[in-house]
């Protein structure tokens, strides 16, 4: 299976551990990702606040570039990119006036968008195309004993739920179970992490981060698994600040792809685990070597 790949700015910046772990994991499962040549920023939430139509046009350039490569599917791992690219596609189909503006602006740079590119999240591809059975077959170091709180954040299932339930998404729960982990019931799985408010209005942002971390702690989670670079950053980088206001709550936050890499027995240095401020120290049992297997059977 082959898809065009839209990394987005975060996966080249603060969220680089997401890309570092996503690429080897997908390769291991036989999913070929071809990075979209000369992609531009999706616009995220900030550009929407300045000019929604322009934001949609910026996103549409990426959709048009993907179509031009002949790839009808574009993988967007970042939650914000995933939402914005989908939103641009929806607006293209739903509002003729916006479609006209998009056509016009793209024509100015010699591009055309037909509205076909499917925007796919890795979780969607893993569950729908790859299949959990194929994932299970690749597990050589089951995450036995690791208690994980699955945290989806906002923008994967809201407002455009395509591959999972809007109120209680379970794609990552199923995936983590396939890896052998214990999934902790985590009712805050789609509650907002605060987004950029951690930087702009810390009083509000720190409280939101605290609530999420503390709930995971109360439920006995060893770590939170996330699908979004901003969620990961917020839940990881502000531990000291949160602790100074609310008392210590130490829960590492990792990308689900990092846990997949551990379970697949991929080299740890490929997974970006050392990129976190609060590191996950837990490791699965090592892959049994032929010698150790003999020892067990003897």
């Amino acid at each position: 299976m082959k898809l065009a790949y839209f990394p987005g700015c975060s996966l080249k910046g603060l969220g680089r551990a997401y890309e570092e772990s996503l690429l080897p994991v997908m390769k291991h499962l036989g999913v070929e990702l071809v990075e979209l040549d000369d992609w531009n920023c999706c616009g995220a939430t900030a550009y929407m606040a300045v000019d929604e139509v322009k934001a949609c046009v910026l996103a549409a350039r990426n959709l048009a570039l993907a179509e031009k490569t002949g790839q009808q599917q574009l993988m967007a791992p970042c939650a914000a990119c995933y939402l914005v690219l989908n939103k641009a596609k929806h607006y293209f189909h739903d509002y003729p006036a916006i479609k006209k503006t998009m056509d016009h602006a793209l024509a100015a740079i010699g591009l055309k968008y037909d509205g076909d590119t499917a925007v796919r999240h890795p979780l969607d591809v893993l569950l729908t195309d790859v299949g959990l059975e194929a994932v299970r077959q690749k597990v050589v170091r089951p995450l036995k004993g690791l208690k994980v709180a699955p945290y989806y954040g906002c923008q994967i299932v809201r407002p455009y739920a395509t591959f999972d339930d809007q109120y209680n998404p379970t794609a990552m729960d199923k995936l983590l179970e396939a890896l052998g982990a214990t999934v902790v019931r985590y009712p805050l799985k789609t509650k907002c992490c605060g987004g950029s408010l951690t930087g702009t209005v810390p009083a509000a942002g720190m409280r939101m981060v605290y609530i999420l971390l503390n709930e995971a702690r109360k439920r006995g989670a060893d770590c939170l698994a996330t699908v979004c670079p901003l969620c990961q950053f917020n839940l990881d980088a502000y531990h000291a600040k949160v602790a100074s206001q609310y008392g210590p709550v130490r829960v590492p936050t990792v990308y689900f792809t990092q846990l997949m890499g551990l379970a697949f027995g991929l080299p740890e240095k490929e997974l970006g685990l050392n990129r976190s401020a609060i590191r996950l120290d837990w490791r699965p049992e090592p892959v049994p070597t032929p010698a150790s297997k003999e020892a067990v059977t003897a």
Binding site: A105, L197, A277
Partner: protein, 195 residues
């Protein structure tokens, strides 16, 4: 003690504001708001807002333009879309908040020295110039423009980023930088709404 009236008067309205707003893509269903308050209930930020989302819906529909455009509410909205998916009337509240933010920026009436609108501006400017965002450079620019002393309070975060190999100030950019300018210019030229 300053005596202030606490109710809105007919004369505070800007007639036509609500009608005009409801013509914008995504804002059409505001008309049907039943003031149930579900949006305010599910909003994780309503406890910090000057007007709750429900109040903003009522004020916007009833033409109280100045109240909504000057509110903190529209900037505190983190676009989590919880209200949008819960609204029994299928009002796209998040998109209405976006439209109100755009109008506040265009008319320059947003709360002064409030970092969120500054972030939106700096972000879009960086996209226009480079086609991509370099997060750290963006954050540093934001602090310099709003609260440079506050930046010093984040020294520990900066150290963590260095320790984990994520502290880079190298600006990411696209090869066809002219593309963004040409697209934005084409929109401005072709659309009366965006001069």
């Amino acid at each position: 003690m300053e005596i202030k009236r606490t109710i809105k008067l007919e004369s505070d309205r800007v007639p036509g504001f609500g009608r005009d707003l409801m013509k914008v893509p995504g804002c059409e269903k505001l008309e049907g708001c039943i003031q149930c308050g579900t949006c305010s209930g599910v909003c994780p930020l309503s406890i910090y807002m000057d007007y709750t989302p429900r109040q903003v819906m009522a004020l916007a529909r009833a033409d109280f333009k100045n109240e909504v455009l000057r509110s903190h509410t529209i900037w505190l909205c983190a676009s989590c879309y919880a209200c949008t998916v819960e609204c029994p009337q299928e009002i796209r509240i998040t998109d209405i908040m976006y439209e109100l933010k755009q109008r506040a920026l265009r008319e320059g009436v947003y709360v002064r020295r409030f970092p969120i609108p500054v972030l939106a501006r700096e972000f879009s400017e960086m996209v226009r110039k480079h086609g991509r965002i370099t997060e750290l450079v963006l954050v540093i620019r934001l602090f310099l423009k709003t609260d440079w002393l506050g930046a010093l309070g984040n020294w520990r975060l900066g150290l963590d980023l260095m320790r984990t190999g994520r502290f880079t100030l190298w600006t990411e950019r696209i090869r066809h930088k002219g593309d963004v300018d040409r697209m934005l210019a084409a929109i401005d030229a072709g659309n009366g709404k965006h001069p």
